[in-house]
């Protein structure tokens, strides 16, 4: 199985996201019917920095490397955090893994 850090992700098109007065919101919009209750998420600064880099081209490892330039943090801890974040976001269906196998 491919290690997570080499995987590439993109934001799901089934969500809206926006920064409002310094708070970063993600609102999933897939398969909702009027009257349904939906969840929204707010991210802290690190989460937002990861989110912004999910462009469908960069691997999680590359994203972690970029964040190392920004944050005073142990590289292993950062990568673990990025991977946890992505797993959580994937479970919430707001990010999607991109197949870059070329096949």
């Amino acid at each position: 199985m491919k290690p997570l850090f080499s995987c590439v992700y993109k934001k799901s098109f089934r969500c809206a996201f926006r920064e409002l007065e310094g708070t970063f919101f993600i609102v999933p919009t897939g398969d909702m019917k009027p009257g349904d209750q939906a969840v929204f998420y707010t991210l802290n600064e690190v989460g937002r920095d990861i989110w912004k880099r999910l462009d469908g081209h960069k691997s999680l490892g590359e994203i972690a490397s970029e964040l190392l330039e920004l944050y005073d943090v142990d590289p292993e801890q950062l990568l673990m955090d990025v991977e946890d974040f992505i797993s959580d976001m994937e479970a919430k269906a707001v990010v999607e893994r991109v197949d870059i196998s070329g096949g």
Binding site: K11, F13, R14, A16, F17, R18, E19, L20, E21, T23, F25, V27, T29, M32, K33, P34, G35, D36, Q37, A38, V39, F40, Y41, T42, L43, N44, E45, V46, G47, I50, L70, Y71, D72, V73, Q77, L78, D81, V82, D84, F85, D88, M89
Partner: protein, 450 residues
Amino acid sequence: MRDFSAVRINHGVFCYEGTPPLILNLNGKRSCKLQLADPDDLRLLSFIFQKGSIDEEGHLPNPTDNERIHMWADQNILSRDGPDKEENKGSQPLLFPLFREYWSSRWVTGHEHDLSHYHRKIISDPKEQFEDQEITLSHMYRFSHPALGDLSYGQRFACVCHHKGILKPGARILEVGGGTGCFGADFLSYVKENYPDIYGTLHYTFFDLSPVLLQAQRERTQAHEDVTSFTEGDIEAFDFDGSQFDLVILNEMIADLRVEKLKKSYFFFHERPPEEQRGTFEFCKACGLNFEDAFEEFLINIGAFRLLYKLTEIMASGGAAVVVEYGDMNIYPTAAVLKSHTEFSIHFGHLKHVAQWSGFGTEFSDMLHFLGFRKDVEILDAFSFTALREHFMPFFGRDLSRFAHTRESLIQEVGEDMLSNIQGLRFAPITKASPTNDPRTYKVLVLSKP
């Protein structure tokens, strides 16, 4: 280097309806803690309870009600559902612009909303238009005002344009959608008095889709007939036959231009847009506008985009344009449902992008900073204004003009005797008295053509 903290994701819950969810919560809890002291609160609540919700099409009774509901939410008057109530405290008011955005895209039932017919045929009374139908910042500050250094909006605008170096001798000025003509008249009078060398060489063209408003502009500026001309038409389609302008003023008019509803799937899932939207789709693609942060259906200010693009033809090299309207940098167009028509706020992030793509230099700010409003000046707050205008004055068979009233201007209009009998009128700084009078609500994009 920034301090690192573990990634944190907070959760909130909202009801996914095409209407602001706070109202739905309110419906479920009639015993809310709201103190029904304000006549407008009573009116809005009775409206909501009678209808069971906002009306079927999602309309609020009037645009200021959005702000009122927002305020209730801020004060925690409305309950919040969800698993983490404490954690989400404050999130829903912040999210309110997103709800309005979502609701607005559903408000537009077809693929576009176009006010051309309204402007051409329906507007019949210029004064009533800006006193009763719609609220503009320039109308609220149309007389000399201490917040503007005892100048009117139009006078101050001229002063700022001169200081910025965009009002020069020989200027060919085009104002599109000049309303009652107050703005243009004050602009010209100020230039005549303070910069006579410029006034002697300028020409000011009023351009409007509404024949009624254009006539009002003509009448209002009679004193300047030697330097003015008037053209009726649709700015998007009009052929200026090579004429160019050094200064273009789009003051509070682009919210009246066409919006179109698009789908994210046109851009991200290769769904083919309908034929009538192909032009808009191609335009957005060509501009490189990015809609990844949008809801699945969203509105764009296509009329405003096309107008900016048109400016590339009609602005002279070295010329400038000043674009003023309400909106935000990252909020898609939201509906302002007025008595007689509906306008849409401007996504200034998109507008700026289109302007830069069209080759303009851009400078973005808000009207507080652009006109240099004094923040400490106090004006009548929204509740007091409504109570006076809608209830008190009509009781005595009198009107109250729509204006950012200071205590002094109110005394002048109402009379000291009558005012001394009214208890509890509240005055607040211009940025706190009312969202519609708050110059920060209105944004400015200054374009410069190389």
